[in-house]
Symmetry: none
Subunit: 416 residues, 2 copies
Amino acid sequence: MEAEIISVGTELLLGQIANTNAQYLGERLAELGIDLHRVTTVGDNAERLRSALEGAWERADLIILTGGLGPTEDDLTKETVAEFLGLELVLDEAALEHIRCFFARTGRTMPPANAKQALIPVGGEVLPNQYGTAPGVWVEKDGRIVVILPGPPFELKPMFENTVADKLRRRLAGERKVIKSRVLKLYGIGESHAEELVRDLIASQTNPTLAPYAKETEIQFRLTAKAASEEEAEAMLARLEEKVRERLGRYIFARDAETMQEVVGKLLSVRGESLAVAESCTGGLVADWITNVPGSSAYFLGGVVAYSNALKEKLLGVPASILQEEGPVSSAVAEAMARGVRALAGADYGAAVTGLAGPDGGTPEKPVGLVFVAAANGQKTVSERYEWRGSRLVIKRRAAQATLNLVRKLILGLQD
Amino acid sequence: MEAEIISVGTELLLGQIANTNAQYLGERLAELGIDLHRVTTVGDNAERLRSALEGAWERADLIILTGGLGPTEDDLTKETVAEFLGLELVLDEAALEHIRCFFARTGRTMPPANAKQALIPVGGEVLPNQYGTAPGVWVEKDGRIVVILPGPPFELKPMFENTVADKLRRRLAGERKVIKSRVLKLYGIGESHAEELVRDLIASQTNPTLAPYAKETEIQFRLTAKAASEEEAEAMLARLEEKVRERLGRYIFARDAETMQEVVGKLLSVRGESLAVAESCTGGLVADWITNVPGSSAYFLGGVVAYSNALKEKLLGVPASILQEEGPVSSAVAEAMARGVRALAGADYGAAVTGLAGPDGGTPEKPVGLVFVAAANGQKTVSERYEWRGSRLVIKRRAAQATLNLVRKLILGLQD
């Protein structure tokens, strides 16, 4: 099955947002073993959308359109597709009822304009939208599948996951090529050093392949295998992963979509232990990441964002003398914060981070990008010093990852 | 001048990275007043790239290609473009020397494969690459401009900024069209209701245009004007903005790239006042957003992430009786948290949020998505109740935005 994506939205062409829907769908299609050959982005313009459709119709078996399903006049994806396919749009009563209920739930009446979202091309199947008013559409004609999905990612992703992926899987059951990939995530080693240690594996292989990517807060190695069956592809990946782990195992903290905060969460869960965090320069980001994990309330007690020195003293019990002598950006303060928040929250582990995220406030001795992270349990307190370059947000994210990684190392008893 | 972008790279189609180059170029082209009509992404495949080139050649005056300039065999953008244009590739000695020096600077010898990066289509102009080995190319034929840029964003952006933008500006000096746009950001009104209130402005205008977009945490209206000069475009936008403000002004909290947290920060800064936040379901996200703003330490004292009831009582002084009678997800608890964190941090304003981000833990009376936000100053405490659908992360983001918006309303004395 060969696929194309057509993304509709002037905001994409004006660069107001990145086309993350295309990225998401590309990833999902690859997992399904469907070749995506082209992504076309056009604005909210019926003529140019029609021209993109004409091209895709010539080349692809599966055309996925995203965006332009809103209630407003410049939302014209369904109208254009229906006209192109020569199908009339008819009101789907169930879809209309869903939209009415969507408004009713929040105590509002459906504005008349939204009724247009319940128009569906004749013969098309309604794809329910759990998180918005615009239903998606699955319609087939002349041996081609056309899928229309809403633009907002928080509506598109669950719709694809819950309905489209399954329908595609059933359709593909006959065909027989599978692409599988796996991602290994590393922390504590640079990209070129990591690459050097597996250079022979990268160079010698075309299937499975091994490719390194330097991400902002970690190094990733992507392993990709093509095979006749899932089992065969998985076996190829397992053999390659074993080889990579032999050389780089100590730096690998997670696989695939798993994040550092999920890894830390699992380590705490299985031990029945708890964590609290004290943040300065990350300003709440560590706690935010931890609480992005469903069920984190089982092991995360809470945290303190001690942006001011006063709060560091008052809430975390950091001695004024240390703050004065070492300065708030120091390993001594990070360690005192970690111990302080652990005691305050009554947690098994306390973690802390203090640093200069910039862009201002740096000095030659304490430059922007200097960050200390610390972690404490009942027995010991450990800390690490980092110095990064980058924007305020990059430094916040790197500091958050380093904080969580140190907790991971303390729990596992890993030494440098 | 009408432009198209062709992005080349299988990693884009596999969803391994988002096409941020297209976003970046879209933004720059709009600033230059160049209409971008289509973005096409194809993989590292000469035949499909050629087909994309053929289409763009029919439609556009300016074709910008990105990616596929590396030293490896699957990097074939220049080769395919040269063949399509009927131009021979010749070795550019200066470009080759640049590549050799690039390696020499890091103590390496140029691998033979990299010599291919110095091949340039006859008549093409070399665009120097400050941050990598692959030069870009500017080549003109039959009244069309073809620009080839390297894939890595940190190479592409400076190359566009430093050479391409200037060349385009000089070319456009003869033409006289500027496109300017402005974004108005609204909170507290739904997309279709907002659209109804300005329907006549949307329908009646083709220049300037007015287009609504529902974002996850706000509604945006984009105003776009085309004119002979920047001044004229700005004047057209100002007139339209005034009309929109007459109808929707009370919902507009920011313009263009400004965020809710920047608006709140400015309001606090000019008043010399301070803020502290207490978070439950957002888990640190409100504090994270606030501290993403450079200089936020001037007005943000810090916060507490009180995930456990124990911390809500101990740190924020929420009475155990309220927690028991009303439950932790209630307006009474949100208000007590806001007052509590204000007192704890000695801030002028305290804000708080408590709710159920899910996916588990909901009940019929307190469903997932139920969120209470509160804000307090010395005189009064206000709170609001929301009920959203969406994933855990969507609910966290919506709750964070609602919290900040309530602080904004309390500072400004806005009533519903």
